[in-house]
Amino acid sequence: MSFDALILVLDSTIRLSVPLILAALGGLFSERAGVFDIGLEGKMLIAAFAAAAVGAVYGSAWLGLGAGILASVALSLVHGYASISQRGSQIVSGVAINFLAAGLTAFLGYAWFSRGGQTPPLPPSGRFQTLTLPFADAVRDVPIFGPIYSTLLSGHNLLVYLGFLAVPLTAWIIYRTRFGLRLRAVGENPAAVDTAGISVAWLRYRAVIVCGIFCGLAGAYLSIAQSAGFVRDMTAGKGFIALAALIFAKWRPWPLLGACLLFGLLDAAAIRLQGVSVPGIGEVPVQFMQALPYILVVVLLAGFIGKAVPPRAGGVPYVKER
């Protein structure tokens, strides 16, 4: 593969891994606080729809982003109410949210816009446009460094940079702030947090809301930054890939970045390698590349390559008194 082709693959890797990073970071906050969330997919989907719908009607990318975040947080609160206040099964609630989002987006999209479930194409003001970093055009012809800077690093939209900045920010919050310490504690031993006089429920609600905000960003990225509108089932399993990346990273921010980039690279390579014969292996079926993240997670969870241990209180509702 030539250098230019490599840059192109890496460039699409970055674009494809941003929604994974954002959604997986959301899942990290929620699951570190002890609330399992298999509803990342649903929250991304409803955010993608709300962002595209509002963006198309009002022609503003920022309004769209806000609507996406609001819709996603609303579903987060449903999940929080079911799993924190009502102490219901977090898995069942997550499944319900995925269906709710899949149904609502298709149903409302069909009824409101009469385009078979799509939203109208967005005007340029309704989308996040690509940003060009300073001097990107000037250094384009410099060997090696030029393409890296002007193609790989420059020329993405705002949410891409936000996604990558969110990783160190999350690491700092989780490991260096009081909120982060308490968040991790409530996921491991909520009784101890409760004994210290801190509300377990309120802490978990905050974690779930943060998760909603991140999923909202991820969904909005799909519909109003990466593409120019919403199509049915737009997330197409990305929420589950993000969940897989979260598990793969063992619920830690920096490995999470690595896992998302890896899965993004697999996706980019699958598109690139379609029908291409790899020396020594022959033609790799594109379906195999698509299934690879899922296979890797199964193998990891089975403990064949390291061991993924979830937060200890994850999935268990907290009962204050017995």
Binding site: G103, L108, W112, Q290, I295, V298
Partner: protein, 387 residues
């Protein structure tokens, strides 16, 4: 689910008959009320919609045939989820297991349909669809029991792996040479299951062109067998024990690994059987994504039917009616597309599953107000305080 239920044991109790009738009815009612609000949101009348829906599902013979055809799918996938529930396992992989079951029965039909009548193909297809489904559930079951993988995550991943695998098989290997369609060739009469018009004709119901076929009877038999298995056999007792308390099961000498694997295999086999209905009973060929979400509807059906075969039959007929009536509804009221069913499905899972206990404290309080005069004060009171 059993684990969730046990958490409310500390509080005052509702009588069992109320707990098994009013609570699920209220939960499902809440789901439908919110669905009605969603219909209002797009400016249509929910009451009018229900009218079209009920007529489309039950108003004429062909509608009934379609309703029961869809119900067949949901009965089998619902039973699959329920059997796993009883063992304390949440099998979200019904979709993938049914997909693989489809491969099993399609292979049986492709091998035999040109040489033998349908009743020879049928048992082979039955065995292969159940077997393929069971194997696809066996792997997550074994990984969970032996290696400690999270069964929910693993079964979700297996759905995606199954989807990729089947697309690859259909595109690269199973579609006839020269065909661009990712599907197998159409089976002959030896790979076609008979319709059930003879069964319904004496009742005065003409099922018309609906694809209702003998898989419906298979599903009913499976309901009976699951009932007998869970409540009348030693294995069923072991499954329920594991579901209620894994430590008690271990203490009683029940092997959690063995029971987990067996329960998952039964669950997968039931999901796999579902494939008979669309593949051999309706389309006579294996198509991409023929399961169409039926594996997931099974989750709603099992939760709504409280993992009991009788409840599952009722819940699957309700969902069958939603599928069939929903298609009619989309024709009569174009603003209400069939996606409404997915919304209802999500709400049913939410209210009958995750928010199962929302109405119980209120009901319990109401019941205690009604029933108090009958209880003598001294008997009831101190116990409450002691708790």
């Amino acid at each position: 689910m059993t684990k969730i239920r046990s958490r409310t044991r500390g509080t005052a109790r509702l009588p069992a008959w109320l707990d098994y009738s009013l609570v699920p009815v209220l939960n499902v009612a809440a789901a439908f009320v919110i669905s009605g609000l969603v219909v209002l949101l797009v400016g249509e009348s929910p009451i009018e919609a229900v009218g079209y829906l009920v007529y489309g599902a039950f108003g004429y013979g062909e509608g009934i045939g379609f309703t029961l055809f869809y119900a067949t799918n949901f009965m089998l996938t619902g039973l699959a989820v329920a059997v796993a529930f009883h063992a304390g396992l949440f099998n979200i992989g019904g979709e993938g297991q049914a997909y693989l079951g489809g491969l099993g029965c399609a292979l049986a039909a492709l091998m035999l349909d040109r040489y033998v009548p349908w009743w020879v193909t049928f048992p082979v297809a039955l065995a292969l669809s159940a077997g393929f489904g069971a194997v696809w559930a066996l792997i997550p079951g074994w990984l969970s029991a032996k290696r400690g993988s999270h069964i929910v995550i693993t079964t979700i991943m297996f759905n995606f792996i199954a989807a990729s695998f089947m697309v690859w098989l259909l595109v690269e290997h199973l579609s006839p040479i020269g065909s661009m369609q990712p599907e197998t060739r159409t089976f002959g009469p030896g790979g076609t299951l008979p319709k059930l018009d003879w069964l319904f004709a004496p009742l005065g119901i003409d099922i018309g062109t609906s694809p209702l076929n003998i898989t419906f009877l298979v599903a009913l038999a499976a309901c009976l067998l699951v009932y007998l298995l869970i409540w009348r056999t030693r294995l069923g007792f072991e499954i329920r024990t594991l579901g209620h308390s894994p430590t008690a099961a271990l203490y009683a000498g029940i092997s959690p690994v063995r029971i987990t694997v067996i329960a998952m295999m039964i669950s997968g086999a039931l999901a796999g059987l579902m494939a008979l209905n669309p593949v051999l009973g309706d389309q006579q060929r294996l198509q991409i994504d023929f399961v169409g979400g039926a594996g997931f509807v099974g989750i709603a059906v099992a939760l709504m039917g409280r993992a009991h075969p009788v409840g599952i039959v009722l819940a699957s007929i309700l969902f069958g009616a939603l599928y069939q009536g929903g298609a009619e509804l989309a024709f009569d009221m174009p603003a209400i597309s069939r996606d409404m069913i997915v919304v209802i499905q999500g709400l049913v899972i939410l209210f009958a599953g995750a928010l199962e206990h929302m109405f119980r404290p209120g009901l319990t309080h109401g019941w205690s107000l009604i029933s108090r005069p009958r209880e003598t004060g001294e008997a009831g009171r101190p116990k409450e305080i002691a708790r």
